[in-house]
Symmetry: C2
Subunit: 193 residues, 2 copies
DNA sequence: CGATAACTGACGAACGTTCGTTAGATACGG
DNA sequence: CCGTATCTAACGAACGTTCGTCAGTTATCG
């Protein structure tokens, strides 16, 4: 399908240059056609952009939910650290997470509202299922605490800080250091000892 | 000075729309002049942008260093939490941190190299002075650990996650929740107990 | 034949930038 | 104190390019 090739190229340039910085002619050239031909597949730049956005959201959401739902509820240490690894992996292997991050932080002003809705929807779903996992661990006294919300938000904070390091990402070693440091302190902060 | 008015307006539009999304005519209109007149004060768009960038860096760096150097080394709990508050305050009161964040994460491609240098320089300085503080606390057995780098990086991670929530910033309550959660877990992670 | 998807050509609008010019302030020598 | 020269900061007009978009035409293929 040619539409997918266009979306793939669009994903690439939107990620690198942002909405305003990416041009249809650039994208078209990447797939070997003229920019006007894009209009045979999409209504316009906004339409193309929003379709790329929804694809990226779906891909990331399903990856995360799939991983979380496979957690066995017995070893939070392994499961949570594995989740961090998953995020790093997703970021490095799939352009979509990079794109998603960029435009969820800094959406083009005239699409900000529509984008925010998608972002909130996703965030909500991940937090909800993650929180239920933490609730289980608290119940079985695998970790400390009463309110599951606290470790959940703290963990999402660790995820965010790692994502930020990835975005910023010039240094593999620094990423590793930061991951280990954040993880060590986080785990000590929620574990029984 | 008219130059400062231009930089102020430029800061605003660069922050909202990014480098490519902000236009000189927009900026000029904000200060009540034509875009051509900007060239009496700056060599061009790039020059204006880089000057705004350096101003923002300087402002943020001096704010942070000033705060850190005033830490009294006796109460890390108060000092570190205060630093988080400072960051939140800076973000909400001064447009410059918002700008700095945006363009350090997603710099315009053709200026990426120059920007990265500024960002690294700043990051390095903050980490260095913060690490020496942590070293003191470890020495005086106010917090746990041996290597000061671990709590330092973890703390910077907390700062980043809060910044991200601010950027993302649609919800005051969510920010508060996340701050409290991350802080509680972080503090338990490095405190003696 | 009909449909799909590519093409060419053209559009108005906006972009960053350069030019020559003007009005006003400042500095200086007689 | 006056006239002149220099400097500053703004201007309108225009430059060449690129932008996103639309209309009409041609090629491909079941």
């Amino acid at each position: 399908m040619k539409s997918n090739e266009i979306k793939e190229a669009a994903l690439k340039f939107f990620t690198i240059h942002g909405y305003e910085g990416a041009s249809l002619s650039q994208i078209a050239k990447e797939v070997g056609m003229k920019k006007q031909s894009i209009y045979a597949h999409f209504k316009g730049k906004d339409d193309l952009f929003m379709q790329v956005l929804r694809d990226a959201k779906e891909a990331e959401l399903s990856s995360k939910l799939h991983y979380i739902s496979k957690m066995d509820s017995h070893s939070p240490k392994k499961d949570l650290y594995g989740f961090l690894q998953l995020v790093i992996d997703l970021f490095q292997k799939k352009e979509q997470l990079k794109f998603w991050l960029r435009i969820s932080f800094f959406p083009p002003a005239h699409l900000a509202e529509a984008i925010e809705k998608e972002v909130l929807d996703m965030e909500e779903k991940v937090q909800l299922i993650l929180e239920s996992k933490f609730q289980d661990w608290i119940h079985t006294q695998t970790i400390i605490g009463q309110a599951a919300k606290i470790p959940t938000l703290a963990f999402l904070g660790v995820v965010d800080s790692i994502l930020l390091e990835l975005v910023y990402g010039n240094d593999e070693k620094r990423l590793k250091d930061k991951l280990e440091a954040s993880w060590a302190v986080f785990w000590r902060g929620i574990s029984l000892h």
